[in-house]
Each structure stands twice: as C-alpha cells, then as structure tokens.
C-alpha cells in the first residue's frame, strides 16, 4: 500500500487535483468494470487506502472488545475507539467532543435514538413536531413511529419551485412546535437550508432543533456550535468511512435528559432483578459491543478529509456542479429538467433530473451500460417526490474524486439514452 495518502500536493491554487485523489481510492483501479464513472457518492462514497488500511491494522494488531478489558490491547482498542469519538466531535465543532458524540450504526439509528430518547420524553399529544417536505425518510419515519405511540402533530414545511423552504408563514408554522427537524442539505434537491436562522426562530419559541447532516458534513465544514442546533446526525459511509457507523451529536444537556434507547451491556451502571441505572453519557446510549473497527475507519476518513480540506472539496464540487449544470443546459435545453435551486452556489453537489420521456430507472440502466453509475428512485424522500409530482428522479452526485471527464461521460451517456428511447 504505497500511495496511502497523497493529500499534500493535491491543492492547486485552492482547487484540488481530483485525478491525484482518485489514485488514493483503490476502487478506481480494481473495480471489474471499464469505464467506471462513479456518480453516486450521495448514496455512499468510496474509501481511500488509508481508511481500509486503518481497519486492517486494527484487526491485525489490536482488536479486543472495548471498555471492559484491563489488558493492554483492550485498552488500546478502547483508546482508538474513544479517539475516534473525539475526532468526530471536533470535526463537527462540538463543545465537548468526548461526551457529546453517540456512535450509532448509521444516521438513521441516530434519528431514532433522538426521537425515542428525547421526543418520547418531552412530547405530549398536543405538541407539534415540525419537519420539512424535503426530509429523508430517516428524519420522517422515526417521528411517525413515535406519533403512533404517543400522538402529536407532525407538521411539514413546504418548499418552492427553486427548492427553497417557504418561510413566509414560518411564525404560524412554528406555533406549538417542540421539535424542529431539518436537513442541512437535501439529498435530492441539493438545497442548502438556512439552518442557523431556522434554529434561532425555533429557539425563540422554545423548540429544540435536530439537523440532518448526512449530506452536509462530507462536503462542508460543519460547526454545530455556530449553527446553534441542539442535535445533529451524520453517517460515516457518505464521508469516505466504513459502513456500519453513524453518529448523533447532541448538546450535553440534551443527552443528559434523554431516555436511554437500546438496552444492554455498557449502557448501564447497575442492574438488579428489580431494574437498572444508566451509565454516564455518551455510554448510556451505546448498548452492546460498538462498531470498533468502524470507528477506527471513520477516524482515518476524517483525517483524510481534513488533509484535503473541506474548503477545497466544496470548491471542487461547486466547479463540477456548475460545469455539469451548464453542459446539461447546453446539450438538452428544456429536455432535461434539473430539480432544486438554479444557482449552483445554493446547492450541494447533487443533481436530480428528469430526462424528457425516459423514466429515471431506464436512464440509470442505460447509463450503467456506459459505465456511469447514477441512482434512480425516490432517494428515500417520498414526500419530496410527491411535492415534485414525480415518481422518481435520476440523481448524479459528485465528490472529491470526481473529475470534469466524469461530468462529460455523464452528459455523453445521457445523449445516448435519449437516442435509445427516441
């Protein structure tokens, strides 16, 4: 594993050298498919050597169960795991990184933990949970499950033709709201929401805010303190890390108040036949053997991202996005409809689109034949699809390893798709 992390010389006047970065990712050499144009990082990103190697090394040199062992490798494993927690906390700008990160299996579990831990404790039937129509199912269904259990109103914020949340009637919408759930960046529209402003408004009516950072933290510098939110979810596999690990960040005071969620080992302080008492935060929420190797991998992923710098990543993605939107406009005009904000600066690096007369599923199929991987479907955002009045969209998404050639391959493949269904 020679070229583990060559991030030093990839910055070229603030813009990164995506081709060099691609070399850090084994899949672009080893995948059994040629060409391989990966434009589905919004679903899951690829991993650099350094992330894979960190987990290998862990299994090959240090593995033991954490927290409960006195012997050396158990202590080393515990340190690696807790260091990963701290690293993620710092990466997100958490005031108390070692206390405020709860590792979960993915972002979805993090939302369920918050709904059941905080929501179940503080919501009563007359309260309101406000979310948006552009939420991912991860920030919708947990509220619906909780609603079935205890009852309350689940209210939705609409968005307009440009994919922007409609805030004209926000005061009205916020009436009775105890919890506001909002995505930082839509996984379909790309819209970057004004979460800081929304949080101020929500706080002014005494509501707490949980933000969905699954599509944001991989691409933008995150600072939960600056955002002011009370809770924040993210997931490793979209930010160069492994599958099997995500996280809830929440303010210390919030975590302390929350009900425990999953019960079992490690989250307890004492258990008798009569009942149990809970461990301190964040362990109170981590029942059973945690994703240890996965935490190690996430740690390495964050190191890689920091090496490249989130600023450079965003700049790079914005330039690809602009290029792609321009090229699509130029080649297809009104025959392609791109959903979400028209201004690339107002969006993250995802492009959901509709090619006239061709169903997204068919688009994705033909594109695959050309070696171009895009996703087609509802992207786990059915209410959003309903608002757009489409059953599905095709979606191309960019990340640090994508190049202008990737964009060109996409456009060329789309032209062939059009021909095919002519």
């Amino acid at each position: 594993m020679a070229n583990e992390l060559m991030v030093d010389n990839i910055l070229d006047q603030g813009v990164l050298d995506a081709q060099a970065i691609k070399n850090d990712f084994p899949i672009f050499k080893e995948v059994k498919q040629d060409p391989f144009v990966y434009l589905d990082s919004a679903a899951s990103s690829q991993r650099p050597y350094s992330v894979i190697k960190s987990m290998d090394d862990y299994y090959r040199q240090t593995h033991a169960n954490v927290h409960r062992g006195v012997y050396r490798i158990a202590e080393q494993a515990t340190n690696l795991y807790e260091n990963a927690r701290c690293h993620l906390g710092k990466f997100l700008g958490a005031p108390h990184p070692e206390l405020e990160i709860v590792f979960t299996k993915n972002a979805t579990e993090a939302f369920n933990l918050f709904a059941q831990g905080y929501g179940r404790k503080f919501l009563s039937p007359r309260d309101v949970v406000l979310i948006t129509k552009m939420e991912h199912h991860a920030n919708i269904v947990p509220w619906m499950i909780l609603k079935e259990q205890i009852g309350f109103e689940l209210r939705f914020l609409d968005f307009d033709d440009d994919g922007q949340l409609i805030l004209d009637d926000i005061e009205e919408k916020l009436k009775g709201v105890k919890i506001l759930g909002v995505t930082m960046a839509s996984n379909v529209l790309g819209t970057i929401n004004p979460v800081k402003e929304l949080t101020q408004m929500a706080h002014s009516v005494g509501a707490v805010v949980i933000a969905d950072g699954a599509q944001y933290s991989p691409h933008f510098t995150t600072n939960v303190k600056d955002l002011g939110v009370d809770a924040y979810c993210t997931t490793a596999h979209k930010m160069l890390g492994p599958t099997g690990i995500g996280a809830l960040w929440a303010k210390r005071s919030i975590l302390q108040e929350m009900y425990p969620f999953l019960g079992g080992g490690e989250m307890i302080q004492n258990v008798t036949t009569e009942g149990f008492t809970t461990n301190d935060i964040p362990h109170k929420f981590e029942a059973g053997t945690p994703p240890i190797a996965e935490a190690v991998g996430l740690d390495a992923a964050l190191t890689y991202l920091e090496g490249v710098s989130l600023t450079a990543i965003r700049a790079h993605e914005l330039s690809l996005l602009t290029y792609a939107m321009d090229l699509m406009e130029e080649r297809f005009g009104s025959r392609i409809k791109v959903f979400g904000p028209r201004d690339p600066k107002k969006r993250s690096g995802v492009i959901s689109f509709e090619l006239e007369g061709v169903h997204p599923h068919d688009v994705s199929q033909i594109l695959d034949q050309e070696g171009v991987c895009v996703r087609a479907g509802h992207h786990c955002a059915k209410p959003l699809m309903t608002s757009l009045n489409v059953p599905a969209t095709a979606r191309a998404s960019f990340y640090l390893y994508n190049t202008e050639e990737d964009v060109e391959a996409l456009v060329a493949a789309l032209e062939r798709t059009e021909d095919f269904f002519k």
Binding site: H359, H361, D362, H378, K382, P391, A392, F420
Partner: protein, 155 residues
Amino acid sequence: MSGLEDLYREIILDHYKNPRNQGTLETPPAVVEQGYNPLCGDEVKVFLVVEDEIVKDIKIDGQGCSISRSSASLMSNAVKGKSVKDAQTTIRTFKKMLALKDEDDIDGETIEPINEHTVGELIALQGVVKFPVRIKCATLPWNTLTQALQSAMAK
C-alpha cells in the same frame, strides 16, 4: 449493448410508448388494487372487473419505467377475457419465466414449458432475468393483479 438489447426489445418499447388498456374503471363495479415498488417509487393501479369468474375488463393506471409499464400492458392483454383460473396460471407461468419461485404455489400444478407458444408476446420480457434489479419492475403489475383477483373473488 447486447445485454441491453435483450432488456429493451422492440415489443417492450412499443408497449411502453403505446400502453394497452390504460386508464381507470369505476369502483364498484370494478375493484382496484395498488402496488408500490419501494425500490424506485413506481406505482401501479390495477382495475379489474370479474364476472362469472371471467376477467371482463382490466385497466392499468400509474407511473413506471419502461419495464414495469410494458409488463403491465402485456399483462393486461394476456389476461383480459380469460377465466380467473387461467389468469392465475398465466401469473404463475410468468413468474416461472422470471425464475421466481411462487411461494404460494402449493397445489402441485405443473407449469408448461416457457416458449412463445405458451406465453405469447410475454416472452419479450424474458430478457429481464439478466437484470435482477429490474425483475421487481416487471413483476410489480403481476403481484398487484394477484391481489386484485383476490379482492374480486372475495366480493
């Protein structure tokens, strides 16, 4: 593109662009069942009028990809006018063609070999087998038809 040619044969593109038996029927007398493909968000509605155990009328409504829509269109042609029993056999034959074991097929009935004689135009959909992800697209209308037949018979 040889694999693709299998998937998108003329006949499929034709039924996709000019779907047969499209529309809705008044309920009642018709029954209606709705199917979702959670994979992609496709929806299909099958409207069915069954009289004297005969599929008198069938209409298909909904949104979907070329595979699911052409499959629905071909299906509607295949069962319209048939007895419920024959329609059910057609469903089983179709599923066999896509190599899906019909779990509820416990009556030990043997299914005919698959060829143009036994399945007619439906043979066009055989190429889907090579694209496992799309099998759900092809079977969505058929599963919905199964439900609709059950509703119709339960009335």
